[in-house]
Each structure stands twice: as structure tokens, then as C-alpha cells.
Assembly symmetry: C2
Homo-oligomer: 333 residues x 2
């Protein structure tokens, strides 16, 4: 976190005060590879011998990824970090450190009274709680005033060299698996939209997604998966990405899909933001029914890609239909 | 760069098209440690044995850091990357890879006709040209629609373990140096504001700052500097940061300041965005008049910090006056 404020500023005001608040809360985790955290031009990180760094960034913008009237600030903070951690999980990596760039309207940075915290402090509550759960120190970032709230999260993880789970490793004949259940985030968001903040209780899957770090590490440790991706944009879209990068096609079995309670088939296929792991494995691989406490379900198989055939086919009993990528996309006009 | 778009989208439209354009242009540099670039959940990077990673992020927002009516898109791209590279330079590190998160209003992502490029393509022209100059591949990032244009840059560099230049190493008795000249960016911006885009020719220092990578590496290689910071927020503010982190005070000599042609003393003291290196060295260190083609000037000295004394003193002949941090600050109300 760069310090952009003068030492003479009132410590209760200005960016300096906010950065000092963040710096004070972003405790350094002794066991991590972080040798220098917030306060210099860069943070410094060491990797263990034989490891390489996995790096991802994810941008969340008010009105596109969250709404101030719908999402509690703690959930925005949690979801911001979860998006980054989920990408680390999809590589089978372990998180080392997080960096956070925040753009905030001035009113979200100011405490709003003795008993009420600033929006940004409640954001940090959610963010740092998940960070602590995954032993991931907040090692730096940037801060700027902005007409809309936005958060760009950077996650750096480590993974043994050459062992990361890639999107490109799926082969025809592999089976297709997913962790947890699908559609919970989309159906939770729907309930939140109808009930406003009163919907929070029934929208947990949307507000507090759990990145599948332990499951990714398990799969990578045992070299059990041939390819992996996280379900951030929706099963249909993310499966297309995996198939494209691997040069294969996929068939999924509608009846086998682990649809979350209260969610529809549509939510499960296209909803997005479930942050489950979608992975492939050779038929000879032993994939248990549960990894680190989370269910694992076989939902289909990888097949050869044909020029005339669809990338993804949805099978419903005897019916077969092409499944287009209808998940999340920006800039679609 | 995560792919958020469906394979079935029209390749001239949507985020997929834009990401494919970026992916096509972001060539992998064979000699870098980048083993996996754009197209998976994370990029993968290898560090050389004995090196640690230096990581920085910098957020630029339309209306705060640049203006669409004033800054050519190429300059916004150049300046975005320069901000990150300058932090890498201040640690004495070498850049390994860049990650870019872009938030864009839809109209800036669309090509505006046969002969005219989209704003984002011109942004990338400026960004990738500087990236290529510093052999820094664009290894990933994110893309989202946003009501205002914004760019968050992440730079990852490498530096021998324990050898990075820090803000905290200055000691009383050290001399204080700066590369290049100061105030050029602020005075250039002033001219740009008066003359609009016609001012471009006289605003080069503002529009096309040169990060001092070679100078930082030179200083670190020779273990010549005791502390360093880049002048991004203005000499007065950045010198305060360096003094605070080192627990010292500083005296600078007004007559010694290398003020850029056309700039005022005020510009040089508080202007910011010069991206020069401000560093300290023991009196016994041999600091040449020029490093890698850029002038180096001694502008003062580090002294003991006294509770009653100012952090930074400006000396003008026999006159001594406290120099407050009056550089760039967000959230100052």
C-alpha cells in the first residue's frame, strides 16, 4: 500500500489515516513468504525452492459486480477476496499474499459516527476475515477517490513448478467433475433482489462463497486432475473456456448436476459466481465422493471436438442439445 | 487475463473479442520468467534462484489521474505502466511481468470506424510500447465495464534476496540525491490544461515519463544507496515518507534542486509524477554525476530527527524553513 498522504495531515482524515487504519489491521503472517508488507514502494515475497508464482487479478465495480443497496459491505469485501482466491484454487496453488486497489467515493471512506463504521471498514472486516481464514496477508495495494466504488484484487500463490492445474489438460475420454453445488449464487441473488437486504439470510451462497483452496491443493498434490477452472462465469461459459483451451468438447448429464437447494437448472447452468471447481480426470483416476468436506460429483465426460459439432452438449435422458455459453459477459452489446 | 465471454459471441463484439485482441498483442517474452500468460485462471512466473519478488499495484482513475479530453489514450497507457515500473525501479528490482485491470465505458472499447482505433487500442499502443522497451510482458489482468475509465496496474519484479532498496535505510549523515530533473510533469500538465491537446508537444515530461529502472538496478548492484523512493507524489511528500520510514529528518538546498526547464520551484517541490528516483547514500559512497545516461544531483542531507524539529527543512542561503508535505493526496477533505 503506497502512502500518498503527508505526515502533517489530520490523522482522522485523508488517505494517510485510511492507509494507516488498513496497515494496522493487515497483520503480517509469520509463516508466509512475505518479507516486506505495506509501507514501501513494493512488497517483497519469497517463494519456497522449486515453487513458481501463480498470479491473478479480478476487478469488481459497483453497479456491475455489487450494489451498495443490496450487498452488505462485509460481503463485498469477502466476495472481492473470494474471487481472487478461487483463481488460485483453480491452479491447485496455495495463496501467499493479497494486494488490494480500492477506488472509493469520499463518503464511503469516512466513519459515519461513533457507533457506525465507515463502509470501507466494514468492507475490510469481510475481506480480512476471509484472508485470515486462508492465512493470506494483505501485503499492499493502492487507494484512490473514485465516483464509483471499485476493488481490484491481486492474489499471488505458489505451486510446485510444472505442477499447476491448467485449463488446457483435458483429453477425450476424461470424466468431468464439479465440487459443491451449482446455481446457489444466482438463486440467492434473485432472492436478494426481491427481498432487498432482508434476503441476506437466504442468499448465503451468493454473499459468502467459499473458495475451494483445499480441494485444489488436494487434486494437485495427488496429480488427480487433468484440467481445472473455477465456476465464476457460469458452468456453460467456464466449461466452454476449458474445452477451448484443451481443444476438446464435453457432454454433461442434466440429471447428474448437483443443483443447490432452491436453485433452478437455468441457475446451475448459467448462473455464475458459485466459485466451485470444475475439473477433469482420467477414467483411471480415483476421485472420492468428497474432498476436504466438500462433495464432488461426476457430471459428464470429455469427448473429441468436431468442427461441425457443439463444444458442449447437454444430455437429458435420450435428448441431446447444444449448450451455448450463456454465462457472465461484459461488453456484450 | 480471464476470459469472461462465450465462444459463440460475435468475434467483433463483446469482451471476448477485446481480450483476444489484447492476448494477440501481448506477446510472451522468451527471456522472462513467465511460463504461462493470458488465458488461464492465473499466470505462472518463475524467479531466478536467490531472488525474491517485488510486487506493486497502482490505480489510475479518469478525472483523478487523467482526463479523456486532455491526455491522449497512448499517454494514459504509457503513464499507467510507468507508475508501476517506477515502483519497481525504486526497489532496485527488474520488472518480470505486468498485469492490467481495465474498467471501461462501452464506447471506449469499441472501434470507432475503419480508420480510427478504439480508445482502448490506443491505450494499449502506449502501454505495450513501454512494456516492450522494458521487456515486460503483459501476463494477465481483468476487464469490466465501468461508468468511468480506470486502470489498475500490477508489476512483479525480481531482486536478489535481502538486497532491495528500501525507504527505511537512510541514516543521519547520508547525502540525498535525485535523478533527472523535478517539476517537469507539473509544469507540463499546467501547459496542457491551458492549451488542451495542442499542449502535447511541451508536456512530454508529463505525458511520457521514463521510469528509472536502469538507475535503480545500478544503485542496487553496487550497493551504493542506503534508501530509495520514487518521486510520484511530489518531492516534499515522498521525502517525508522516506524520512518517516527511516526515522530521520532531511535538509534540502533550494539552490541545488535540478528544476526542469520551464518549471517553478513550487512545481519541483510539490508537483509530483516526475517518477525520478530520490535516494540516500553514505558520504563515503561514490555516486557519479550520471547513471545510465541520466543526471544525478545531490540536493541535501539526512539529519537526526528531533521531536520539536520539522521532518524536512528547505534551506535557501541562510534562510531555513520547514517544508510541509504538500504533494498529492486523495481523500484530503
Amino acid at each position: 500500500m503506497r502512502r500518498k498522504a503527508g505526515a502533517t495531515a489530520n490523522p482522522n482524515r485523508g488517505e494517510l489515516a485510511l492507509i494507516e487504519r488498513i496497515r494496522g489491521r493487515a497483520a503480517r503472517t509469520a509463516e508466509s513468504g512475505l518479507t516486506l508488507g505495506i509501507g514501501d514502494d513494493c512488497a517483497l515475497l519469497r517463494l519456497k525452492t522449486g515453487e513458481e508464482a501463480a498470479v491473478t487479478t479480478d476487478l469488481s465495480i459497483e453497479g456491475r459486480h455489487f450494489r451498495l443497496d443490496l450487498h452488505p459491505p462485509e460481503a463485498v469485501g469477502h466476495r472481492t477476496l473470494a474471487r481472487g482466491l478461487s483463481d488460485i484454487a483453480a491452479m491447485g496453488a496455495r495463496p501467499l499474499a493479497a494486494f488490494l486497489s480500492l477506488g472509493l467515493p469520499a463518503e464511503l471512506a469516512e466513519p459515519t459516527g461513533r457507533k457506525r463504521s465507515a463502509w470501507v471498514d466494514r468492507f475490510l472486516d469481510g475481506f480480512l476475515s476471509l484472508a485470515s481464514q486462508h492465512k493470506t496477508p494483505l501485503a499492499g495495494g493502492d487507494l484512490a477517490q473514485s465516483p464509483v466504488a471499485l476493488a481490484d484484487i491481486v492474489l499471488i500463490g505458489e505451486v510446485p513448478r510444472g505442477k499447476a492445474l491448467l485449463r488446457s489438460g483435458a483429453r477425450a475420454g476424461d470424466l468431468l467433475y464439479v465440487t459443491g453445488c451449482l446455481g446457489g449464487s444466482a438463486s440467492g441473488l434473485g432472492r436478494l433482489r426481491k427481498g432487498g437486504r432482508n434476503g441476506n439470510g437466504v442468499a448465503a451462497a451468493h454473499l459468502w462463497p467459499e473458495p475451494r483452496i483445499a480441494q485444489g491443493v488436494w487434486l494437485r498434490n495427488r496429480e488427480a486432475a487433468s484440467a481445472a477452472i473455477d465456476v465464476s462465469d457460469g458452468l456453460s461459459t467456464d466449461l466452454h473456456h476449458l474445452c477451448e483451451e484443451s481443444g476438446v468438447a464435453a457432454e454433461i448429464d442434466s440429471a447428474a448436476l448437483p443443483i443447490c437447494p432452491g436453485a433452478s437448472l437455468e441457475d446451475a447452468l448459467h448462473g455464475g459466481e458459485d466459485y466451485e471447481l470444475l475439473f477433469t480426470a482420467r477414467r483411471t483416476a480415483r476421485i472420492p465422493k468428497e474432498i476436504a468436506g466438500v462433495a464432488v460429483t461426476c457430471i459428464g465426460a470429455i469427448v473429441k471436438s468436431r468442427a461441425s459439432g457443439p463444444r458442449v452438449t447437454l444430455m437429458d435422458g435420450a435428448r441431446r442439445q447444444p449448450l451455448p455459453a450463456r454465462g457472465w459477459e461484459h461488453f456484450r452489446t
